[in-house]
Each structure stands twice: as structure tokens, then as C-alpha cells.
């Protein structure tokens, strides 16, 4: 291609990108920049126009707050456990669905249902089912004679994190299944046939062929889920509002910003959330070498 043609191509590309860039500037870059800016001020939400610069005081205040560290711990516990369960379960279901069983199309559609339900609806639904007096779960458990009185699933401080993880697993495993299934279907069936003829045992086939070939797909799925889980807000908030046992960093930032009207400190907390998510994303991309794996 001549230099002139290349230049014309570039100009056309930028022209097409322009509307998107403008939108991103308005809805992402501008609010983000404002948040960063307010993080360095002592502004309050009732009148954000009156403030003075306090530099890093807000960031330090967040780090000195015991609640912040509880929220960080909750967020990390939630992320690691829920994503681990979702990945394992997602892989297992994807492998099952990939086998040529009758009714596979129906199963594939049905499994998507939990993911299609809005988070608030799903959370409320589970909250009702888990209700200690009227919930169907306790009804079944006591009917089977497993418990003599209803368990207060969502009120007990030791159980509530388990409930949050359980509901998240129920809602987002389909997403994992879908991404891993897509990766599975990219693998040529002849590779499995070759392993079959070569007498490779099933477990070895899984560990040495299926899993390594699925690594890019699983990596992308885990990355998406981890980023999602780290900034999780809706599920825990709908279920338990600001209950400290399941307070995530996003809920902490929201409380500082909205409940306490501290625009400056809330912005600083939000910035910490942003940095935390960015850090974890960079680590995952580096560890899984997703950028390179994509080429295989």
C-alpha cells in the first residue's frame, strides 16, 4: 500500500472512532477525572463547589479506617471463593454440554436462565427462599428432619458471606459455562480422536490436552469474573445493605460518599477501588499471559 493510501485509511479509521471517543470522554474519562480530583479535596456532597485541596489526607484516612480493611478482606474472600467455584463448576458443566448428548441445545439454553435474571430480582428471590420463617429452603430442611428450627441464613453473621457467594455462583456460573464451552468448541474434534486412537487415558487427555488448550478461554473468563467480583455491589447491598460481614469495597465507597456525604473521602475510597481492580487485572493478565496465549 502506498503511503498516501495508508494515510487515507488511517484518517477514515479515526473518523469512525470519533463518536465512540467522544462518548467515552463524556461518560468515563470525565467522571473518572472528576473523582480523582475530588479525592484530593475536602468537599461535601451537599455543596461540592465549596472545598479546599487537602492533598493525600483522604487517601490516608481511608487506609486508617478499620472498616475499609474489613471491606477489602470481604471483597477478596468473596472474589477468590466465588470465582474458584464458578470456574470449577463452569468447566464441569461445559465439558458435559460439549459431549454430544441428546437435548444438548435445550440444556444449553436452560442453563442461561439464572444469568438472564436481573441481580436485584435474583437476590430478592433467594432472600425469600432463605427466609428463616417463611423460606422454602428451611421448609424443606425441616421437612427432611435435618433441622428442628429455621436457620437465619441472611441474618447470621457467620452464614451471610456463604449466602452471598452461593447466590453469586448460582447467577454467574452460566457465564463461565458459556465462555468455556465456546473455547471447547474451538478445539478440533480430530485432536480428541487422535488421543483416543493413541490410547491416551481420559484423565490424561483432560490434564494434558483439554485443559492446556482451554487455558486462553478459561483465562479470559476468570479475568472477566474477577473484575466483576472485585467491584461487586448490588448483590451484597440488596441482601444486607451495609452489614459489615459482607460489606465490599464498593459498598464502603458508596457509604462514605452517599450516607456520610463525604465527597472527598468517598472519592479517595473509589480511587483505591479503581487501583485495586487495576492491580489485580494486571497481575492476572501477566500470570496467565493472556496477551500471548491469544495467539496460539
Amino acid at each position: 500500500m502506498s503511503a498516501k493510501l495508508a494515510r487515507r485509511d488511517h484518517r477514515a479509521a479515526w473518523l469512525f472512532l470519533l463518536p465512540v471517543l467522544v462518548v467515552i470522554l463524556l461518560v468515563a474519562v470525565w467522571p473518572l477525572a472528576r473523582t480523582f480530583y475530588f479525592a484530593f479535596t475536602d468537599a461535601y456532597l451537599d455543596d461540592p463547589s465549596v472545598y479546599s485541596i487537602v492533598w493525600f489526607d483522604n487517601f490516608i484516612e481511608v487506609l486508617n479506617d478499620r472498616s475499609w480493611w474489613v471491606a477489602v478482606r470481604n471483597t477478596l474472600v468473596f472474589t477468590v471463593i466465588s470465582v474458584a467455584i464458578e470456574t470449577g463448576l463452569g468447566l464441569a458443566i461445559a465439558l458435559l454440554l460439549n459431549a454430544a448428548i441428546p437435548g444438548r441445545g435445550l440444556a444449553r439454553a436452560a442453563i442461561l436462565v439464572p444469568w438472564a435474571i436481573p441481580v436485584v430480582v435474583a437476590t430478592k428471590m433467594w432472600e425469600w427462599m432463605l427466609n428463616d420463617q417463611f423460606g422454602v429452603i428451611n421448609k424443606i430442611l425441616s421437612g427432611l428432619g435435618l433441622v428442628d428450627h429455621g436457620i437465619a441464613w441472611t441474618a447470621s453473621s457467620s452464614l451471610i458471606m456463604g449466602v452471598v457467594i452461593f447466590v453469586d455462583v448460582w447467577m454467574t456460573t452460566p457465564f463461565m459455562v458459556l465462555l468455556i464451552l465456546a473455547g471447547l468448541q474451538l478445539i478440533s474434534p480430530e485432536i480428541f480422536e487422535a488421543a483416543d486412537v493413541d490410547g491416551i487415558p481420559a484423565w490424561k487427555r483432560f490434564w494434558s490436552i483439554t485443559l492446556p488448550m482451554l487455558r486462553p478461554a478459561i483465562g479470559v473468563a476468570v479475568l472477566f469474573r474477577v473484575l466483576d467480583a472485585l467491584r461487586m455491589f448490588d448483590l451484597a447491598y440488596v441482601l444486607a445493605a451495609s452489614n459489615e460481614n459482607v460489606m465490599t469495597v464498593s459498598i464502603y465507597a458508596r457509604d462514605r460518599l452517599i450516607s456520610f456525604q463525604e465527597l472527598g473521602v468517598g472519592s479517595a475510597a473509589s480511587t483505591w477501588v479503581f487501583l485495586l481492580v487495576a492491580l489485580v487485572a494486571i497481575i492476572i493478565i501477566g500470570v496467565l499471559r493472556l496477551d500471548r496465549a491469544a495467539g496460539t
Binding site: A194, A195, D198, S208, M213
Partner: protein
């Protein structure tokens, strides 16, 4: 090493019958080629032998043992795929040695055997590469190496050369022929390319629409095809055909057809029912207009350097190919000409495609004015 026999093997996918009642006996150490047009069921038949596809009915036996219900992994076969099916995330060495590794063989013994096979196939300088870093020919060698290292009793090849360019195809064809001479293992090879079948096979199985049309040595299929399908499929360029009407005069069939054809052939019985004749391009001779046994127009000549093909249109629109010893003078192109052939070169077919045995001797005079 082992023999293979198929008895009444059929396979249907839904209502579609892909393989229909195949009977086949392959001897120990034989090189057999399944050949046929695409969709004829040759790959499915090979997969049935491998155990990758279960037959709907019939018996598959290897080395005399019924293996119909034995999984692929315990049939002692190796399979080379058209797509090579190499493990993309493993090095060449690991690709070749993976099956041995799972057998619990010692690491040293595995790498010894892998190296031996890699040397034999001239890929020993590529041991650390990934499949994606190899050329098509190298991938094919690695795929063959992976099959070889297990010392299988039977080698199965599913169109192994069709993804290669023609130079490489020729080279790998020789390589596979050499392997068979050295190993003397039973090999079954699937291809749609009749020239691969002719050059590699001890015996060729011609398949069409899930049925075996004919089994025989390349020479048998070429010189004595059982039917019109085999006659038309084996040989390149393919046999020329012409629809004829026949009138029986005792044991002589008098044939007439386009291009002022007039031909009489002796037939064994009085009801030969010849509907079509076939003549190979190399049995035809280009002669002057009004001479020879059939009239045509020489439409086009292809000059390939070492050989020349003439395309002659006969009055009913049929185009015959003729192999010429040298390119004809350019001023003959587009002009009427005649084609001559020996009566012994004529194959006759009945309306159902069955070949009719004819005597060579009794051939009538050339085209009538």
C-alpha cells in the same frame, strides 16, 4: 501386523445410509487404498476400522479377532488425519512421544524411540518446535511419526496429503511407499486422488455411494474395470464415453452413435444390451477428416511440454480427450478430424453400468458419409 476383515458392514447417520453392506478382506502387510469421489463413505469406512465410528451393523475383525465392540484405543491401530491433528501446545518431540509417555515407559526409553522415529522421518532437527512453527510437510511427517512410534499393527491414513502442494505431495507419497516397504505393516489409505491410489496401492477398493464397486490391483482396475463407474474413475485423464444404440446380429452387436460411429463388436451372447462405449485417451489416434472410426472437431489442444491433450467435440456435444504424441499443427485446431482406435481398446457397458465382455476382432469400417 494384522489382517483386517469387514463383514456386512453398514453405517447410517439418521436415514442417510453412508456405508452399505461392505465385505472386504485385507491381508497382513497389504497396502490397500480406499478411493472414491467425495461423500462416497471412504473416510467413514476407515473410521469404522479405527473404531472412531461404530458401524450400525456388521462385523469388524482385526487379526482374526472380532473388534466391533473394542474401543479405538485397544485396536492396535494408528491413525493419520488429514488435518494432522497434532497437539498444538506440545513440542514436536512431545507430540511424537505422548502416547508412550502415558504407557508409563521410562523417560530415557521414550526419548530414544522418539529420536529414532524423528530421524527416520527427518524431523529430528525440529524437536523443540511447536506445530504452528512447522510447514505443512513437516507437520505431516510429525503426524506420521506419532503414528509410527507406537509400532501399531495397522496404519490408517485419512487423505494425509490433500492439504499439501503438489511437489510435497509427490515427495510424501514416495516417503509413505518407502515406509511400507521398510515396515511391511498393514496400511489402509483413503484418498479421492486416483493417481495416489494407483501409485501406492497393492490393492484398490473403489467406493461409490457407500458400496464397494470393485476391489483389485491397480492394473486390474485400469485394464479390466467391472463397471462404468470404475472405468471412469480410474485413469487420468478419464476414459471417454459415448452413448450408442446397438442392434444385435447373432453374436455381433452393431453399434451406431454420434460422430457417424459405426462399430461392430462380437459379444458372447445374443442379448448384450450395450448402451455405452468407453475408450481411454491413450488408445485414440488423431487422423484426417473422413478417416478413422468416428468424426469430430478438434476444439483445443493443451501443450504440457512432455505430453499433449486434444479435446475433440463429437456431434452430440460429447467432448473426448485424446493423448497426442506431439502437438498437432495449429491450423488443424477448430477443423473437423477423425479419431481412430483399435477394436480391442473398446470397453462396452450396459445401460445399468455393468461392463459387457466384447471380442476385439470384428470391427466394421470407419465413419460413413
Amino acid at each position: 501386523m494384522a489382517s483386517v476383515s469387514l463383514h456386512a458392514v453398514s453405517k447410517s447417520f439418521g436415514t442417510h445410509a453412508v456405508i452399505q453392506g461392505v465385505e472386504l478382506q485385507i491381508d497382513d502387510g497389504e497396502f490397500v487404498v480406499f478411493v472414491g469421489p467425495s461423500g462416497c463413505g471412504k473416510s467413514t469406512l476407515l473410521r469404522i476400522v479405527a473404531g472412531l465410528v461404530a458401524p450400525s451393523s456388521g462385523i469388524v475383525a482385526i487379526g482374526g479377532d472380532d473388534v466391533t465392540d473394542v474401543p479405538a484405543s485397544r485396536r492396535g491401530v494408528a491413525f493419520v488425519f488429514q488435518s494432522y491433528a497434532l497437539y498444538p501446545h506440545m513440542s514436536v518431540a512431545r507430540n511424537i512421544g505422548f502416547a508412550l509417555e502415558t504407557l508409563g515407559m521410562a523417560r530415557d526409553a521414550v526419548s530414544q524411540k522418539v529420536l529414532g522415529v524423528a530421524r527416520m522421518l527427518k524431523v529430528d532437527h525440529l524437536m523443540d518446535r511447536r506445530p504452528r512453527e512447522l510447514s505443512g510437510g513437516q507437520r505431516q511427517r510429525v503426524a506420521i511419526g506419532r503414528a509410527l512410534v507406537r509400532q501399531p499393527e495397522i496404519f490408517l491414513f485419512d487423505e494425509p496429503l490433500s492439504n499439501l502442494d503438489s511437489d510435497l505431495r509427490m515427495e510424501m507419497r514416495l516417503e509413505i511407499a518407502r515406509l511400507h516397504t521398510e515396515l511391511k505393516t498393514t496400511m489402509i489409505y483413503v484418498t479421492h486422488d486416483q493417481s495416489e491410489a494407483m501409485t501406492l496401492a497393492d490393492r484398490i477398493v473403489v467406493l461409490n455411494q457407500g458400496r464397494v464397486e470393485q476391489v483389485g490391483t491397480p492394473q486390474q482396475l485400469y485394464h479390466a474395470p467391472d463397471n462404468r463407474f470404475v472405468a471412469g474413475f480410474i485413469g487420468s485423464p478419464r476414459m471417454n464415453f459415448l452413448n450408442v444404440s446397438s442392434r444385435q446380429e447373432g453374436e455381433v452387436a452393431v453399434l451406431t452413435g454420434a460422430g457417424n460411429l459405426s462399430l461392430a463388436l462380437t459379444t458372447g451372447d445374443a442379448q448384450s444390451g450395450i448402451a455405452e462405449i468407453g475408450i481411454r485417451p491413450e488408445a485414440l489416434r488423431l487422423v484426417a477428416e473422413g478417416e478413422g472410426r468416428i468424426a469430430c472437431i478438434l476444439e483445443r489442444v493443451e501443450d504440457l511440454g512432455h505430453e499433449h491433450f486434444g479435446y475433440c467435440r463429437i456431434s452430440d456435444g460429447t467432448v473426448w480427450v485424446i493423448r497426442l504424441p506431439q502437438a498437432p499443427l495449429p491450423d488443424r485446431i477448430g477443423k473437423p478430424a477423425g479419431l481412430d482406435f483399435a477394436g480391442s481398446a473398446v470397453y462396452a457397458f450396459a445401460a445399468d453400468g455393468r461392463r459387457v465382455a466384447v471380442g476385439a476382432g470384428h470391427v466394421a469400417e470407419g465413419p460413413q458419409p
